[in-house]
Symmetry: C2
Subunit: 319 residues, 2 copies
């Protein structure tokens, strides 16, 4: 009977579950709304139901479900399987999710932070295959990060490492939701792009036209793709800021690869030139040439795939 | 017969050698000028002479010299023991120093980058004892760095990791010798302090008085200690810039400890308040509180001690 694991990406918006083979193929997948606002008990029940449904399906197909891997947002104490704190689930403080799931499911469960899981997913089956040191930057609403060194996630002393979106780029720059000013996230995320576009538009035309009050980052890429000069400049500036941050990461880590994911990745040709230019200008020549900057490959699957990788890996060492 | 190693700190200015016991005590030490300008052959001969003299002295005292550890500036390929490139020794490109020394000495030799060796020295016997993840920042003429994660130096893909002095703090800031602009090194090193003082003085009095043309960083600390307002402000600004850099490192690494060494460390009370303020303002609360920021303890011995640590450690695994 073939061994499989269930990989889970528990996001603030979507709950994704999949059955994965030991070589990382997705054999079955399911996605539904998380409804985070329903509160801890209901969300955990929904999570359990989804895992059980996948498990049943796996068993019916003749597979042996050896473990479950869960990627969750926030601060995760990986060794104990506790969600210490999660911005998406405010009432989850110090939730022993691993224990709760294991008791109900009777299967080994392993937890990882979602950005770290995505990094492991890309390393296993995506843009980081064969690479032992890589950094994943996810440019979404905010900017997330996962650091893989010597083939392992670097978690830090409190499980909070990898907050690359909150490096300071401009000491007295834009106020960030984290309390700092001038974080990378404020310039190179979807939110940052929208803010830059609105600022540039305000300067160019003395105010933001009504029909652009609710402009999205996607609309900015589209406008840039269609040749709108302001949007083109905004996307280049975003790329420059990303390049400044990546240049520092290269000088600090001298990594093999940096993988850029998240929704903003779709605008790749609009920013990557400016990013590379900034890196070559700022980072030391040898590591700058060494570090490949590549787009992520797994999209929304990265978290599930990485959670499955964790489950396969740790299940080996605990059995 | 007691086992000892010889620890060497091969600097651009000074060549230090010491006999160290397995618990890191310095049993004997020697320092002389490196005379880097004499060229590769002469410097290597001088290095060999010094090691031989220490070894002879150790043997006379009844010790067994089991290995030699050498900390050298520049890019070191640690596994092969090659000095790839060194700013202090321009004619040392790709020098197989480990092999050369081993052939002549008949004793196992291990190489490490000098900043990494200093970090390992502080971890073993100085400000990092008992700590598994720490970052050493040496504020000297420039700013060097050594990163210890999970008890090991993070070398990076080319042995060039840890160039923390060349994180960008001010994207369009002061031109750095590395080619970048606005590096941490340009604000928080001895050179940076002198530049800031001269700039501040120029602004305040319309020019730098003749007698201050050659001001040193030590003179700036002294002036600040004596209450000179401009010097006090310069030292605080230096501390702020250091804090901006450290806050980013805390968000990226979530380390247990950050050790600050180098000559500028002697001005500790003049800058550390501003550094801590900036960290608390900018880094995430949990890791910011967790990370202890402490002065280095070993001073100029750190490199030798760390090189000895490497020798003891690797000698175990190769014998």
């Amino acid at each position: 009977m073939g061994r499989v694991v269930i990989g889970v990406d528990l996001g603030g918006t979507n709950l994704r579950t999949a059955i994965l083979s030991p070589d990382g193929n997705i054999l079955d997948r399911h996605k539904e709304a998380t409804h985070a606002a329903d509160g801890r008990e209901k969300v955990v029940s929904r999570l359990i139901e989804n895992i059980k449904r996948q498990r049943k399906s796996a068993i019916q197909q003749g597979f042996d479900v050896v473990a479950v891997g869960v990627g969750a947002p926030g601060v995760i104490q990986v060794d104990k399987g506790i969600v210490v704190k999660s911005p998406n689930f405010p009432d989850w403080n110090n939730l022993p999710l691993k224990d709760q799931l294991e008791k109900t499911l009777g299967t080994p469960v392993f937890l990882e932070n979602d950005a770290n899981a995505a990094a492991l997913g890309e390393q296993w089956r995506g843009a980081g295959r064969g690479i032992r040191s890589m950094i994943l930057l996810t440019l979404g609403t905010g900017v997330g990060g996962g650091i893989i060194l010597d083939n392992k996630i670097w978690h830090g002393a409190d499980g909070m490492a990898g907050e690359i979106g909150h490096m300071t780029l401009i000491p007295d720059g834009r106020p960030c939701t984290c309390g700092n000013t001038g974080c990378l996230e404020m310039y190179s995320s979807a939110r940052g792009i929208v803010q830059s576009f609105r600022e540039a538009l305000g300067k160019a035309s003395g105010g933001v036209p009504d029909q652009l009050e609710q402009v999205s980052s996607e609309q900015v890429y589209e406008a840039a793709g269609a040749g709108n000069e302001i949007a083109v400049r905004v996307m280049k500036d975003m790329g420059r800021m990303l390049g400044i941050g990546i240049a520092s990461l290269i000088n600090i880590f001298n990594p093999e690869r940096i993988v850029v994911g998240g929704g903003v990745k779709d605008a790749w040709p609009l920013f990557i030139g400016a990013t590379r230019e900034e890196i070559m200008k700022r980072a030391f020549a040898v590591p700058a040439k060494r570090t490949e900057i590549v787009p992520s490959q797994l999209g929304d699957d990265a978290g599930m795939v990485g959670a499955a990788a964790v489950a396969f890996e740790l299940q080996k060492t605990t059995c």
